[in-house]
Amino acid sequence: MTTAVETGNKADLPPPASTVGVVGWMRENLFSSWRSTVLTLLAVYLLYVAIPPLLQWTVFDAIWTGNEAKDCKLPDGSAKDGACWIFIKAWIGGFMYGLYPYDLRWRVDVAAVLVLLMFAPLAVKRLPFKNIYGVAVILLYPVVAYFMFRGFIDFPLSDPQSTTHPWRVVETSKWGGLALTLLIASVGIIASLPLGILLALGRRSHMPIVSTFSVLFIELWRGVPLITVLFMSSVMLPLFLPEGVNFDKLLRALIGVTLFSSAYMAEVVRGGLQAIPKGQYEAAMALGLNFVRMMALIVMPQALRYVIPSIVNTFIGLFKDTTLVAIIGMFDLLGAIQLGNADPKWLGFGMEGYVFAAALYFVFCFSMSRYSQHLERKLHTGHKKR
């Protein structure tokens, strides 16, 4: 009490110049010791070696104008130095839609625009009946998208309209390109989360039948490579089905991808469930909540929040794994690009195709990753874990 220093009389000084600004930042982060100085210089050198040639190929020497393969070639027939982006331009339709009929590609476009239009209202903060609307859209959109992709009038082959009618059926084997990749990935993502939640709950269940089934299911699917699952579904499953029963190859692949990733999802969710303290269950029960409400309102929201990074990790893995359907003869983005690479008119531009595919995959995966970070920040409620 007696020797207290009077406060509030000293003016706030700016921090010393050497600790702020560009110089301060560099001193702190790049040159803080001789070791980091060496590493910094090494990194700069590596960037110097790698970046200019890359830019040279992708941008400066690249061929941007023209329509034919010969625009990318020297008079003697060998390829020019830069990237031949007109190959991508020529094949962009194939990359986006695969073998989907030219005159019907607008249907896929409409499906894509609809997804934006239907989900956009969910971004509105205070939308009345937001939950109901959300559920409705999630249930309704797949139906809409299915009919946009497939069409609904099935003409016999003899009918001339079977090649001209705007709503004629397009077999799933014709679906392809980025559209197919996005379709498989979103079905897998949207269906595997609830399935994974059920499996995770099943694995923790006290009922021996339920938990044994869940464990077996999870371990079985996790123990097999996805490529095996896809081969089984496309080649072997038909052998076991009775004569005449034939269900769609795409559907089989979708089921395979979904069940496969739901097994991973189950383990991710189980990890989240283990982070929930017993007290949360007890408080919920003491308040009279039944099991379903306790799980849906108290436990799952917290458990899923803890594992957002792992969930998104699984989603990203799933997204990239969809490329494996190219091996069972579907032309997803990668399959379509391989189709383009084999085009006799454009032989020799495989590199451009793969770089384009890599860039597209990166854009989607990186967006998912950013969205997950955004979600984590948004849902953070400042609670400490007990």
Binding site: Q280, A283, M285, Q302, G382
Partner: protein, 262 residues
């Protein structure tokens, strides 16, 4: 340290059977081979305030957790507000509706705001309209003197505030009985008082309360009856003045000397 119950509390003890809130007869519980609760016989009357004390591991928590079926007893009977506690889910639900519980570690739901913590059960269990539930919640948050924190998340509150929210959350279900399991033992000394004050307020309103606590000041001023447990048994029960002045058993005396002299 001592509870701040200045107002004298009317100490009633009725013996009419329709006034019984909780009755345990010959209740036993085992954890596997371990006999935690041995032949518990206890009758709690409406409006009674009972403090339960005893050494660590003596089964205090287990006993009060049996009352709302957070733990299952294996022998004997427990009747709460006329409903027998059995494996029947309906009975368990009915009892949980009448019994509120406050925990040592608050157990607030960290992903919900204070207000949502309070309205969740009324909305989902009692099917109360959201507006009404919020009104009730604000009433009780005002009663525990933190209405201004309603929009915050539990993680943004002090321990004492969190525990008061937990009390308000229970009260929103309008329970007839409140169970407290060491409600102040996770709190810093300066926060203990604010929580005890809230409990005193509840006691003055005639709430039936069972409180496991080591706050002997609170026990002395608020309780009608103190129950001493040791090794799974109710060793002794008496009204506070007698309990502190003339403990009957050696074990009680030992416990009191340990708890009061340090």
């Amino acid at each position: 340290m001592t509870a701040s119950a200045q107002a004298p509390i009317q100490k009633v003890k009725s013996t009419k059977s329709d006034e019984v809130a909780i009755q345990m007869i010959g209740m036993h519980k085992w954890y596997g081979e371990f006999h935690v609760l041995k032949d518990i016989n206890l009758t709690v009357y409406r409006g009674e305030r009972i403090v339960i004390c005893g050494p660590s591991g003596s089964g205090k928590s287990t006993m009060i957790r049996c009352i709302n079926r957070l733990e299952e007893h294996q022998k004997g009977s427990i009747v709460v507000e006329g409903v027998e506690l059995s494996n029947n889910v309906k009975n368990i639900d009915a009892i949980r509706r009448e019994v509120g519980m406050v925990f040592q570690h608050f157990n607030l739901f960290p992903h919900l705001t204070v207000l949502e913590n309070c309205t969740l059960a009324p909305i989902w269990v009692k099917k109360m309209p959201k507006k009404d539930a919020e009104e009730v919640a604000m009433k009780y948050l005002t009663r525990v003197r933190i209405p201004e924190q309603a929009a915050k998340y539990p993680g943004q509150l002090s321990g004492g505030q969190q525990q008061r929210v937990a009390i308000a959350r229970s009260l929103c279900m309008n329970p007839k009985i409140m169970l407290f399991d060491e409600p102040t033992s996770a709190l810093d000394p300066e926060m203990i008082k604010e929580v005890l004050d809230t409990m005193v307020l509840l006691a003055e309103e005639g709430m039936t309360m069972l409180v496991v606590t080591h706050e002997m000041g609170f026990a002395r001023t608020v309780a009608n009856r103190i129950i001493f447990m040791d090794r799974g048994e109710i060793v002794e029960q008496n009204e506070p003045s007698e309990f502190f002045k003339n403990p009957k058993s050696e074990r009680t005396r030992l416990f009191l000397s340990q708890i009061l002299h340090h």
